[in-house]
């Protein structure tokens, strides 16, 4: 029989209690026991950051955190950033400025960015600051510039500065620069 421990934690503001093996990864507790599949597993070794969540306010790789270390902790996942179905300013900026492409890194990117903005307390972080804060979150589409732009725009918006002006995103297959437009299989 595998050992189990009771872990009580606050996830996205709600008290949760799970009975799990003590070394079960926080990532798996979130996805399997709590049904929060927003956090992704990319590499499983702390390189890619797709599993980033906030543990007591600090960005961590949930694939490297044992369940016992979440006991008594406050955890925030990407599901906890929106309020009542309304996206946060940061999430809106990712949508409006094209900060998300395939989406695999997006939960980690948004959560790691939220940690940075919380630390900045309304100040707009410099571009190198954003890049450093997101250095542990890899985008396989290499869409970094738009991600950095989105984070800085969201910080500016939070401060009451001008809203980020969204560039219209062309529908797939109609981009002028696209040599070979990707098409979905027509059925």
């Amino acid at each position: 029989m595998s050992p189990r421990v009771r872990v009580s934690l606050t996830v996205n503001g709600a008290s949760r209690r799970v009975n799990v093996p003590p070394m079960k990864r926080l990532l798996d507790v979130l996805r399997e026991d709590l049904g929060l599949t927003g956090s992704k597993e990319g590499c499983g070794e702390g390189e890619c950051g797709a599993c980033t969540v906030l543990l007591n306010g600090a960005a961590v790789n949930s694939c490297l955190v044992p369940a016992v270390h979440a006991d008594g902790a406050k955890v925030v996942t990407v599901e906890g950033l929106a309020r009542g179905g309304r996206l946060s300013a940061l999430q809106r900026a990712f949508v409006e400025l094209g900060g998300s492409q395939c989406g695999m890194c997006t939960p980690g990117m948004v959560v790691a960015s939220a940690a940075l903005l919380a630390r900045c307390r309304g100040r707009v972080p410099s571009e190198p600051e954003v890049r450093e804060a997101l250095a542990g979150t890899l985008c396989r589409c290499t869409g970094y510039q738009k991600i950095v732009d989105a984070v800085r725009a969201a910080a500016g918006e939070g401060r009451g500065a001008a809203k980020p002006r969204a560039r219209p995103v062309a529908p797939a297959g109609r981009r002028a620069s696209s040599v070979r437009p990707r098409r979905r299989a027509a059925r």
């Binding site: 595998s2 050992p3 421990v5 093996p21 003590p22 070394m23 079960k24 990864r25 798996d28 399997e32 499983g44 070794e45 702390g46 390189e47 950051g49 980033t52 543990l55 600090a58 960005a59 961590v60 790789n61 694939c63 490297l64 955190v65 044992p66 016992v68 270390h69 790691a112 940690a115 450093e132 804060a133 250095a135 542990g136 979150t137």
Partner: protein, 294 residues
Amino acid sequence: MKAALSQLEVVRPRDLAHAVSLLHESAGAERLTPLAGGTDLFVYLNAGTLTDRRYLDLSPLSELRAIRPAKGGVRIGALATFDAIARHAACARWPMLPQAARVIGAAQIQNRATLGGNVANASPAGDSLPVLLAYDAVVHAASVRGEREIAFGKLYTGYRRLALEPDELIVAVTLPDRPGRARELFRKVGTRAAQSISKVVFAGALRVDRGGVVDHVRLAWGSVAPVTLRSSAAESALLGARPSPDAAAAVREALARDIAPIDDIRSDAAYRLAVAQAVLAQFLRLAHADFRAR
């Protein structure tokens, strides 16, 4: 989840005395493996290369997180994270340590990875380790017999082998007061600034006395030998010498005898030697420029 993880046991001590007694009891049988931030340990577990079954969770030992001034130096608890070290005012007088702390992994790693873990993991590529060598760090190990001090320079006896008893736990690292007016340089060379494991890592300190002669030198290296080491031939060539381009050439030659870089997935021996010599040359140029500017 990986099947193996569900079989692992975790023991949570009440306090340090309880922790070392649990470690002592386990040393004869199935030894408990200390678990700190987990950033190395879970990589091995996820990859299946770590087969230990029982773990001693250090997280309840909050006293091991403290960073505080101690006898002209600073005592850093084994559970202090690199993020805490990078931000703590008490560490600022040893600037290479916060510098190294900011390039270990990335934010997610720095928020979890601990100094004690980096020391215990004993990777020759551990980025904080040359810094500890250059600052003459002392490691504090606790057991049921009490606490003892081990000079960091004597800690590693071979590749990933530590001069610790099986029931000893690293509880803190102390950096003694450092010589004033020393030029220091920390360099990490890897494929990118964040996340990459170093091809070469260097921490150096050098001071020139009023007579123009080098009276303090530490040249500490990672990723160029089976253990983190000081280049003793290069240090000897510098100590008592006057900084000059000629002296620098001799020191670079000596360095080649001190280190034993290898070919591996991250780099090769020839490149590592060339980089180490270039980093050393850069350091000596900086130190020489300081001296001439006086």
